[in-house]
């Protein structure tokens, strides 16, 4: 598969990243070499089932609300906070 600059742009946009033109060129080259290697997977017979090892399971626990004692500590780590809320740039434009 040929990795184009448009594909790199799309992946960067979806990943919330901005790339300089130099970075874009570099990532295109790097991703191309990785995808060239991944072509190996086309040799893999596709009818060999799906999923992870049957030995692994996910344990569920009761969905019970637990009071957290770390809220103030966490809010203290916020880059910008006020009144126990995270401050962010305006989300909704003025009408």
């Amino acid at each position: 598969m040929l990795i184009t600059s448009q594909m790199v742009d799309k992946a960067a946009k979806l990943a919330h990243l901005i790339l300089t033109s130099q970075e874009q060129e570099w990532f295109q080259k790097e991703l191309q070499s990785i995808f060239d290697y991944m072509q190996l997977l086309s040799e893999f017979p596709g009818d060999l089932g799906e999923g992870k090892s049957e030995d692994q399971e996910t344990h569920m626990r009761a969905d019970v609300a637990v009071r957290s004692s770390v809220i103030e500590t966490m809010m203290g780590q916020a880059p910008q906070a006020a009144n126990q809320m995270f401050v962010v740039p305006r989300v909704v434009d003025k009408a």
């Binding site: 919330h16 990243l17 901005i18 990532f27 991944m38 997977l41 992870k52 996910t58 780590q77 880059p79």
Partner: protein, 509 residues
Amino acid sequence: MDKRAPEASKLDFQRSAEELVSLVRRRQIPVKEVVDSYKAKTKDLREKLNTHVFYDEESIDFQVKDLEKRLDLGHELVLAGLPILVKDNICTKGIPTTASSKILKDYRPPEDAFVVQKIREAGGIIFGKANCDEFAMGSSNENSFFGPVSNPWDLNCVPGGSSGGSAAAVAAAMVPISIGSDTGGSVRQPAAMCGVVGLKPTYGYVSRRGLIAYASSLDQIGPIGTNVRDLALVLSVIGEHDSLDSTSNKDPRPDFKTLVGWSSAPKKLRIGLVDEFMGEGISSQVKSSMIECVELLKGHGYVVENVSIPNLKYSLAAYYIIATAEASSNLARFDGVRYGYRSSSSVRNLEQLYQASRSEGFSSEVKKRIMLGTFVLSHGYYEAYYGKANKVRSAISRDFNEAFRSYDLLIGPTSPVTAFSKGEKRQDALSMYLLDICTIAANLTGIPSISIPCGLDHKKLPIGLQILGNRFQEPALLSLAQILESELKFSSRFKPSLHSSQENKSFLP
């Protein structure tokens, strides 16, 4: 009354963690003496090797005082007085935990990771935070916001990665034990390159709570030390069910005696040498060293035969799809809003804040993996890449299950090459990723694996041998590792030079 044993009068860094704990518990050596010795060593070497991203003697002294009180009260503490360095992607309450990334530069977690809780409860001393590849993404410890780590065997060389600081610090005797994380070999590969022992337990054996996630279905925390018994000792403490990790196994774990129980191990283990681990890309010296180990085992009456894991040839491609797909999701949380780095550039909306903070906070390697993962999960490519990678993963698991019907344990090299010069592979992503070729299978399948040092190459750099076992077969894995360790006597024959290759080296003997 002075309870000191005559042999305990001087700490010589040759003692195992197990011996140190025993001396401390019997009050034959003061905790302070143990800790001061390692503090002095750390002070000497920390900057030279760049092993630490955080080190605070005041916090260590505080822990020592607390421990002394507990010992005075008669507490039985399995890791009493043991200095333990923790990889910087594992949360430590109130102590910076950055995953060696700019985006978490000033982050101080509100809670300890489960393993850190267990270490503290058992009397271990948290001896700082170890440098690593950013978000554990790397095989050379060159992708750290805090700079590269040097290999104690040759300061010009990388220590391996991503737990490079953890492995280098143990190799340089700055701590007897460190804790790393292993997503594709990040405990075992640096252990191999630094001539120490590194264990990746079965997935679900050790809780991942408090480990900053890279790829949640592959990540596993494991110890690094100078000998197998010490790793078993630490594993007996950190390996416990944790109800707050949904993937933590609920079954009881073997105790220390069972983990190292020679008598309970099968007398004649059947061992398979994995063909695919001895193929293209493996250095001739690494291969020779493996063959010597095979002969050694055969000489002691063990059955060692070649075994093929046919789908292993697809493992690296599948691994980098699954790992980066999970990373793209796990690292989406770093957005400059709730914690970590926020860009100070002028932005007009929330999306621009995310973009600016992430673009300035992540390194190129991390961005590359996030984009790769984003791409393979995107519409039109999901089935061809992510879907197929999961099918490969299943097929490899079945291959291993089949192999374990005939063999108790499998062996092969840990790393295809020994430590290489800094910068040598940085410009070639694929050659760097290929360093994981022998280790990723254990992560894809969740099986346990250990790396032990088995010799030196012509540059006097360590070679690692890897042993793989079936799920939760840690006792058998550790038994064979002990057998080989006692035959090879690596740690008593060789010591790192702590010089660069241009300088004179002094090896023992």
